[in-house]
Symmetry: C2
C-alpha cells in the first residue's frame, strides 16, 4: 500500500511498523524485571528502586535522541543547540514523572569525527547540564564508517533522576473537574523533523537546502528558517521544580513524538478525558508554515508536532492560581471530564474560551 | 598526511581526532560535577553517590555501542548476537569497577524499522539481561531516515550498576609483585570491526561480502567466517561476582577498544608496569587471519584488538589460587613490576613461561 502524501510515513518514518514489534518487546522486557522495578507507572521514564534506600528513593531514567534535527544542524553548521536539545528533552521526560535529574551520559556516533562539531555539542550539553544541576558523568564517542551517512551524526542521551516513591507523579490521582495547564513550546523542539524537512524541501541537495534555510521569511519577521528550526528544546525544570515542592501536580506530560494526544493520553486514567480548547493558545508560526507547504491535515499535524504546547500539567481547581504563579507563560488550556469513550484526549474550539464552559 | 596502509585510520576511524577534542571536553564536563560525583576513579564507568544512602552506595554507569559489528550482522541477517553483545559489553565495563548491574536502557536507531531484526535484537538483549540479573527498564527506538545508511542500524546501551563505596575496584591498591590473571575472549567481541571488515573484504558490495562471510574456512575447522565474527561478546560476570564476594580483586580491566595496553594501562598506578608474557596464551585464529590478510603489524593488532584476552584481573600472590578456582579458563599472564618508564604495559616472550620468572 502506498503511503498517503504528506503523511509522516511518506517522509520515511513508519510508526505502524514500530507499533507492531511493541507487544512482543513488552513481554520480553517484562521478563527481565525484578522486585526493584516499579511497573506500570513510568510512562515517561523507567522506574527502579535505589539500592539500600528502603524503597524510599526511586531512580527514574530515560533514553532518547534528538532525531533528524541533527541534519538541520549539520546543514547550518550550528551544533550547539543540539547538545542543549538532548539534555532538555531527556530532563523534561523524567521531570514529567516528578523526578529531578541526577546525572547524564551521552552517545555520539558519526562516520568521521569532526572535533569542532563535537566541541559545540559538548558545550551545549554541559551548559544545559550545569543549568539543570545534572552531572555529565560519562559517554561514548564512536566513529562508525559504513553505518552513518557522510557528514551526519547521531546523538543519544541517557538521564537518571530521583524521586521519593510517595511523590511520583503519574496521573493516577487525576479526576473529573481537574484543570489542564499548558506551557508553550518554543518551536518544534526535537520532534517531527523528518516530516518538516521533507515538506520544507530540506531533504534534497545540500546547496538547495542551505538556500532554503538561510532565506529570511516574512512569517518569522525576517528571521531565516534555519534559526527557527534550531531553537533549542525548552526545559521546563525552572517552572516545574517549585510546583514539585508544593506537591500540587496530579499529572504531567512532556509533549514529544505523538503530539498532545499521544503524550497526554498516557497519564489520563480510564473513564476520563482531557479536553483541550484550541482557542486558548496560539502555535508558533513554524507549524502553520509546515502545514501549508505540505498540505498536511490538522489531524496529522497534531499527531506529529507539539503544536505550540511543550509541557502540560494537571492540577485541582483550587491549585490553579498557585500553579500559574510559578509558570509565567502558562495558561489554562483544558479540563478533565468523564467519558465512556476510549479516547483520552479531545480537541474543541469553544467560541467564548474556557471561562464560559 | 596520508594514513599508513593497514592502520585503523585508513579503515576510517581517526583515533587522534577523537583524542584532540578530549581535553576541552574533560574541562567542560568537570564543570557539571558536584559533590555526588566521585572523580578520577571510574575509568570504566561514571560514579555517582546514590541519593539518601549516606554515601554508602555508589551508582556506576556506562554508555556504549556495538560498533560496526552491526554491519556484519546486517549482511548475515543474524541480529540476536548483537543484543547480547551490547549487554555483555556494558555489564563488563561497570563490573571492572566492582559494580554489579541493576538496570539497562537501549537506544536503537535505523533509517527504516525492520521489526524482525528489532525482535531478534530485543531477544538477545533480554536474554543477556535476565542472565545478568539486570532489568531492561527503558529504551528508545528511532527511525531516522537521512542519518543512517540503508539497511543498517546502530545500537547503543546504557547500564547502571551499584557498588559500596569501600568496595570500588580501581587499581589503586595494585603493587609490585602482584599477579595478572587473564581470561580469554571468544573472538573480536565488539571491537576492531571497522579494520576487520576492511581487511577481510567485507566493505565492498553486499554480494561479495556475503560470499566471503559464508565460505567455510580451514583455519576455523570449516566454520564460515560469519559465525566466527558474530560470536557474542563474552560476559565475565559469572567468574567475577564470586571474586567480588571474596574481596580479593585489586584491579580489573575489560579489554575493548585500545586493546590490552590501552585498557590495562588505565588501572596501573604510576611507577608500576604490567608485564604480559605473550607465551602464556594463544589468541583465537581470527586474529591471525586478520593480521595476515591485512599485513598488519603486531603493534597495530595489539592496539586495536583484544588479541585473545577479554578481561584481566590483578590480585596479590597469596590470592592467585582462590582466583583461579573461580575462573575455570583463567591463567597467569603477567606480573606487576616497578618501572621508571611512563609505559604502563609491556609485552615480553619468556622462553620458559612465567613459572621461571
Amino acid at each position: 500500500m502506498e503511503p498517503e502524501a504528506g503523511s509522516y510515513r511518506s517522509a520515511g518514518v513508519d510508526i505502524d511498523a514500530a507499533e507492531a514489534a511493541k507487544d512482543e518487546i513488552a513481554q520480553r522486557v517484562a521478563a527481565t524485571h525484578n522486585v526493584s522495578v516499579l511497573r506500570g507507572v513510568g510512562h515517561f521514564g523507567g522506574f527502579f528502586r535505589a539500592p539500600k534506600s528502603d524503597g524510599e528513593v526511586v531512580l527514574v531514567s530515560s533514553a532518547d535522541s534528538v532525531g533528524t534535527k541533527v541534519l538541520v544542524a549539520a546543514l547550518a553548521g550550528h551544533h550547539y543547540p543540539i547538545g542543549i536539545d538532548l539534555v532538555h528533552h531527556s530532563v523534561n521526560d523524567i521531570l514529567a514523572c516528578g523526578a529531578r535529574p541526577l546525572f547524564f551520559l551521552d552517545y555520539y556516533a558519526t562516520p568521521r569525527l569532526d572535533p569542532d562539531a563535537l566541541r559545540e555539542i559538548i558545550r551545549g550539553m554541559t551548559d544545559a547540564c550545569e543549568e539543570a544541576g545534572c552531572a555529565l558523568i560519562g559517554g561514548e564517542t564512536a566513529q562508525l564508517p559504513g553505518i552513518y551517512q557522510p557528514d551526519t551524526y547521531d546523538l543519544a542521551g541517557f538521564v537518571v533522576g530521583a524521586v521519593e516513591e510517595a511523590r511520583i507523579v503519574d496521573g493516577s490521582r487525576i479526576q473529573a473537574g481537574d484543570v489542564v495547564i499548558g506551557i508553550p513550546s518554543v518551536g518544534l523542539h526535537t520532534n517531527g523533523y523528518s516530516l518538516a524537512r521533507s515538506v520544507l524541501g530540506l531533504d534534497g541537495t545540500p546547496e538547495r537546502a542551505k538556500a532554503i534555510l538561510t532565506e529570511p521569511l516574512d512569517v518569522f519577521a525576517g528571521v531565516a528558517l534555519m534559526h527557527v528550526l534550531l531553537i533549542p528544546h525548552r526545559s521546563y525544570l525552572p517552572e516545574i521544580v517549585p510546583l514539585l515542592d508544593l506537591d500540587i501536580l496530579k499529572g504531567m506530560a512532556h509533549i514529544t513524538g505523538g503530539g498532545i494526544a499521544g503524550n497526554v493520553g498516557r497519564i489520563i486514567p480510564d473513564g476520563l478525558l482531557a479536553e483541550f480548547d484550541l482557542n486558548t493558545w496560539e502555535p508558533h508560526p513554524i507549524f502553520g508554515l509546515i502545514q501549508q507547504r505540505g498540505s498536511i491535515t490538522g489531524d496529522e499535524m497534531y499527531k506529529v508536532f507539539n503544536m505550540g504546547l511543550g509541557y502540560v500539567v494537571v492540577v485541582s481547581p483550587p491549585d490553579v492560581d498557585r500553579a500559574l504563579d510559578e509558570i509565567e507563560d502558562g495558561r489554562i488550556v483544558g479540563r478533565i471530564i468523564n467519558t465512556s469513550d476510549e479516547a483520552k484526549v479531545r480537541f474543541v474550539r469553544n467560541e467564548d474560551g474556557w471561562a464560559a464552559s
